[in-house]
């Protein structure tokens, strides 16, 4: 026995380890950021969602990304019992990956846990702010959920609520247990997360037996990994790298980019100035250049598949001369149109954001505005974007990207347009009323109610809307999987088939 043999043997073993063990039904998915936690109540964060949502942790209801309708998942059915109370009937025979059976107590615990102040779960903070939710167990398979104030879309909200066993402690878990078709079998922080298919899943057996998640923050690397066979799916690649029609798919990602105008400060308090800003932007020029060709020019805060957002509104045509004329007019009325306006961009917000902002800066300047561009990281950006503003009040246009993949504008409109909305740059009584009305409206009237709110915001030129964005995924040719709007927040392994 000599050292050299041992050493060579070791090296050989190391080389063989890894790629050689992959089976035909295994997939490798490369995400853009490492998961900081694997806590189900955090799965509204896109990367946590892509691993956990509906793979490990399921929800009572599920949103159909194609038509915005609501589908049953853990709950077979639900009904409105008035006064803000909804009753959910659970599917029978569902088991958690730890072997226990799903019952109403688990749902109750999950809701309480998600909304607990001791945990600061993102799902709680993001979807259930400003309301009180009270779960009441009726029997093992029936639960009443009451909200105050009443929520016409409570079943929709429940499509975000991940369900964990009643035994889950009130702290972030490192070994998530859920009812989904997969269970987490390994988590090597910094390296990978491995999910294995459960044999005792209550629903249909999916094709994928094992999924390995890797994390690479560099766009080009993620794209290259699918090309070299090191990964099968990269849910997010840069549009620049999406060059292979066979593997690269564009999908609307429910994100809307816009410039939030602060209309409380001169000269942005003048509607003509805001209109002029809208006219100064040559939106067409971006498409197919800095912004993917499949992106849509936005007229609303939410994507067209959202309730009430399917109506025909339009953005003003590109008209720098018209913008100048409007400015002159405002100037004649004593509006300080020469004031420097801060154009604030958020670094890394979407691919090419810096270039887009540079181009916008150029367009505004061409139309006669005095605009100063500043690109900042998120911590500073928030100081300008969200109330209470930590930054000095200056006339500003804050670039932002809003994501509403829940199908209902309620998640957007209050925050962005109500006087009290945290990111609202406008305060208009009519608009406030329209939002409040629509929020409280249930049933068929809800769509037209939102459409009205959209229209008021549009007529006020409250923002400079840019695009409903698309994302790009690269999927290995050995898989039968087409990314959809849902890919932005989840990646259901059960939807992946093999060619």
């Amino acid at each position: 026995m000599n050292y050299r043999n041992v050493l060579l043997g070791g090296v050989a073993a190391l080389c063989l380890y890894g790629p050689a063990m992959a089976a035909d039904t295994d997939v490798t998915i490369v995400l853009n950021e490492e998961l900081e936690t694997v806590e189900p109540c955090m799965s509204s964060q896109s990367n946590i969602g892509r691993v956990l949502l509906q793979n490990i942790s399921e929800t009572m209801t599920e949103l159909n990304p194609e038509d915005g309708s609501l589908m049953p998942r853990l709950a077979d059915s639900w009904e409105d019992r008035g006064n803000g109370t909804w009753r959910f009937h659970l599917h029978e025979g569902v088991t958690f990956s730890d072997g226990s059976t799903l019952d109403a107590a688990d749902i109750k615990h999950s809701i309480e846990r998600t909304l607990s102040p001791d945990l600061t779960c993102e799902i709680g903070a993001k979807y259930f702010g400003g309301m009180t939710i009270t779960p009441t167990v009726v029997d093992d398979l029936t639960i009443d959920v009451t909200s105050d104030p009443a929520q016409p879309i409570l079943p929709l909200l429940m499509s975000t609520m991940t369900i964990v066993p009643a035994e889950t402690p009130m702290e972030f878990t490192r070994s998530p247990v859920g009812t989904g078709p997969y269970a987490m079998t390994a988590w090597n922080p910094g390296q990978n997360i491995i999910l294995d298919r459960r044999d005792d899943y209550w629903g249909d057996q999916p094709a994928v037996t094992k999924a390995t998640y890797l994390f690479r923050s560099d766009d080009a690397v993620r794209a290259a990994m699918v090309a070299t066979g090191e990964a099968d799916i990269s849910p997010l690649i840069n549009q620049i790298d999406a060059t292979n029609a066979d593997t690269d798919f564009a999908y609307p990602n429910s994100e809307t980019t816009y410039l939030r105008l602060d209309s409380s400060i001169a000269p942005l308090d003048d509607i003509r100035v805001r209109q002029a800003l809208n006219m100064a932007v040559d939106r067409e020029a971006f498409l197919g250049t800095l912004v993917p060709e499949d992106a849509q020019i936005a007229t609303h805060m939410t994507v067209p598949t959202t309730l009430g957002a399917d109506q025909d509104l339009s953005v003003p045509a590109y008209d720098p001369e018209g913008a100048k004329a409007l400015l002159e007019e405002a100037k004649a009325d004593g509006v300080a149109v020469d004031t420097e306006i801060l154009l604030l961009g958020r670094l890394g917000n979407f691919p090419n954001v810096t270039e887009v902002m540079e181009a916008l800066h150029g367009m505004f300047t061409d139309a006669g505005f005095n605009v100063k561009l500043q690109m900042v990281e998120v911590a500073e950006w928030v100081k300008y974007y969200s109330k209470p503003y930590a930054a000095q009040p200056v006339p500003s246009m804050v670039q932002a990207m809003h994501d509403n993949n829940r199908g209902d504008p309620v998640f957007s409109m209050y925050f962005k347009y109500a006087c009290e909305g945290l990111q609202s740059g406008i305060c208009d009584p009519d608009l406030d009323k329209a939002i409040a009305d629509a929020t409280a409206t249930a049933g068929d009237g809800r769509g037209p109610a939102w459409a009205k709110a959209f229209e008021i915001a549009h007529d006020l030129s409250a923002d400079v809307f840019l695009f409903h964005m698309v994302g790009f995924s690269r999927v290995s040719e050995r898989l039968d999987f087409i990314p959809s709007i849902a890919t932005n927040s989840e990646l259901q392994l059960s939807q992946i088939k093999f060619n």
């Binding site: 250049t289 670094l347 500043q374």
Partner: protein, 308 residues
């Protein structure tokens, strides 16, 4: 050398300092080329922003990523267009202004502060001599990225503040070098000779010690110049450096990086500018190390023909 010294002082007239330096430079052709390149860059840095600023910032989205070596779009597009259709050549020239300003500012500031502290630390035998090196240790182990975030968050990501960040992180280099040299030089005989004459501390430091350290500091500064340019570029890559609409070479490389496979010229030309400039500075610094050292200088003085 002592073997060949003669008692008689050579009668030849010594040429002026500047001429001597030029002659020494000419003896090293590689260094001469490097010096000329650096001069061109400095020229661009001073004149570029004045002459070309308008051209370099004029976006043309429909003509983006225009390939290089195509003269039909005008001379400025010879290196191609960038992701907004702006001529790369013009942008590189304009960006040299900020790039050189950042590098020069950071190097000069850190050299002045660092070497002053180093002088004090090296010359004072009291508590300061103990405390200042600790300060250097603290700066050395303070994560430079955190420093960048602190400064850029509290102030703004402007050229001046980038200079501040980079200057602070480079202070220890000068501090440590100066201190080590002072510790050695202050024991030299000619310093004692000055003491015997009654020279004040200030005089000893500025007339006797400083001129001895200066060549070493200049050599380090030249190398550091290159380092700072690369560091600035890395900050841009990580998104905590200079931000548009300001431009630097580092930022251009960082912004062009995603296009590496589709439009290589976006990051290649500014990258080349960085490489050539740092390379020139490194070569110049190598030359300076020889030219400033009397025991090495003969290599240049005799070796014009064979000893580049």
């Amino acid at each position: 050398m002592t073997e060949t010294q003669t008692e008689a002082v050579p009668k030849t007239k010594e040429p002026g300092k500047f001429i001597t330096i030029l002659r020494l430079l000419w003896a090293d052709k590689v260094a001469t080329t490097a010096a000329i390149f650096v001069l061109i860059v400095i020229g661009c840095a001073i004149l570029g922003p004045i002459l070309l600023d308008g051209v370099a910032t004029k976006a043309n989205l429909r003509g983006r990523n225009a390939p290089p070596f195509d003269l039909s779009k005008g001379f400025l597009m010879i290196l191609g267009g960038d992701q907004l259709g702006r001529p790369l050549l013009a942008r590189i020239i304009v960006a040299s202004g900020n790039t050189i300003a950042v590098a020069t500012g950071a190097v000069v500031a850190s050299m002045i502060v660092g070497s002053s502290l180093g002088l004090i630390a090296g010359y004072s035998r009291g508590r300061l001599g103990q405390v200042i090196p600790r300060l250097a240790d603290v700066i050395m182990s303070f994560p430079s990225l955190l420093l960048a975030v602190i400064v850029l968050y509290m102030l703004a990501p402007s050229v001046g503040n980038i200079v501040l960040v980079l200057a602070i992180t480079r202070i220890p280099i000068y501090l440590r070098t100066t201190r080590a040299e002072v510790l050695e030089i202050r024991e030299r005989m000619f310093v004692q000779a000055a003491q015997v004459m009654g020279a004040s501390t200030g005089r000893i430091i500025f007339r006797h010690i400083m001129p001895m350290i200066l060549p070493t500091l200049l050599t380090i500064a030249t190398l550091d110049f290159a380092f700072v340019m690369l560091a600035e570029s890395s900050l841009s890559f990580l998104g905590i450096g200079i931000q548009p609409p300001e431009i630097t070479w580092g930022l251009m490389v960082a912004q062009g990086r995603p296009y590496l496979t589709s439009a290589w010229w976006l990051s290649f030309w500014p990258g080349l500018a960085i490489i050539l400039t740092t390379l020139s500075l490194n070569l110049l610094s190598n030359w300076m190390r020889v030219a400033l050292d009397p025991t090495q200088r003969w290599r240049l003085e005799i070796g014009g023909k064979k000893n580049g």
